[in-house]
């Protein structure tokens, strides 16, 4: 499965458009990590725990999008975008979406 945020694939032709596919996940912060982050808030800098948490969540959203794309018989997802929104305090939704296509 080819995933790209370009609208075209250099050197390959798009045979069929299969429409929008998306994947999302909602994650909340771990209490332990939250306390560590609270301490880190005093000295500032990178909050590694959160970086990893969001990266992992984004990966899961992408995986779900890929699953959906496979379900409709695509072999590539183009023009992929990410979006993040906060649902309630301490939780965030990760969304990945793109256009499923069949490449020759």
């Amino acid at each position: 499965m080819l995933i790209s945020n370009l609208e075209i694939v250099p050197g390959r032709r798009i045979v069929k458009h299969l429409g929008l596919v998306q994947g999302s996940t909602v994650r909340s912060k771990h209490v332990g990590k939250d306390i560590m982050a609270g301490l880190k808030n005093i000295v500032g800098g990178e909050l590694k725990g959160y970086t990893d948490l969001l990266k992992e969540a984004r990966q899961e959203a992408t995986d779900r999008m890929v699953q959906q794309a496979q379900g409709v018989g695509a072999n590539a997802v183009l023009n992929v975008r990410f979006s993040t929104s906060s649902i309630t305090q301490g939780a965030a939704e990760m969304l990945a979406y793109g256009t499923a296509v069949v490449l020759e």
Binding site: L2, I3, S4, N5, L6, E7, I8, V9, P10, G11, K29, D34, A37, G38, K40, N41, I42, V43, G44, G45, E46, L47, K48, Y50, T51, L54, K55, R58, V80, R81, F82, S83, T84, S86, Q89, G90, A92
Partner: protein
């Protein structure tokens, strides 16, 4: 007595935040400059379309970082925001975060043997705190398509 203790805690947090935050910022900038030199071979474009020549493989690459400001900056900024205008403390924080995100993206691209990243987008997300009193953090993410020459 209680107020006095509060004041001491506040002052200690201010000093710790100032010293540790400053040291961390200087160290981070040094490391950013060094890695930017190392990664200068990977070119980053915001063009939507790749150059037509050399169509090889491609892969989505991303870099992200979550940062928070230190206690001193937070207090100073909240005072400054009474008058409005520039908040230097946050400017440098976001500058560092964004450059770090780009560096991580470049790192991922160069591990895959790519020399070029096109259609780069930035996304900034402010993570809310668990309760209104706790402070949140900011996530900065950069993503794009890494192109490998054939």
């Amino acid at each position: 007595m209680g107020e006095f203790l509060d004041l001491i805690v506040f002052l200690v947090l201010m000093v710790v935040g100032y010293v540790a935050g400053r040291i961390a910022e200087r160290r981070h900038y040094r490391s950013i400059l060094e890695r930017e030199k190392q990664m200068a071979g990977v070119l980053v474009f915001s063009n939507r379309f790749p150059p037509l020549s050399g169509a090889g493989g491609q892969a989505l690459v991303a870099g992200s970082v979550v940062v928070s400001e230190d206690y001193f900056k937070r207090v100073v900024s909240s005072l400054q925001s009474v008058f409005g205008g520039r908040l230097r403390a946050y400017e440098s924080l976001l500058d560092r975060a964004r450059r770090e995100a780009v560096l991580r993206m470049k790192q991922e691209a160069s591990e895959q043997g790519a020399r070029m990243i096109v259609n780069v987008k930035f996304q900034t997300f402010s993570i809310p705190g668990r309760n209104p009193r706790s402070y949140g953090a900011v996530e900065v993410m950069a993503y794009g398509t890494a192109l490998t020459a054939r």
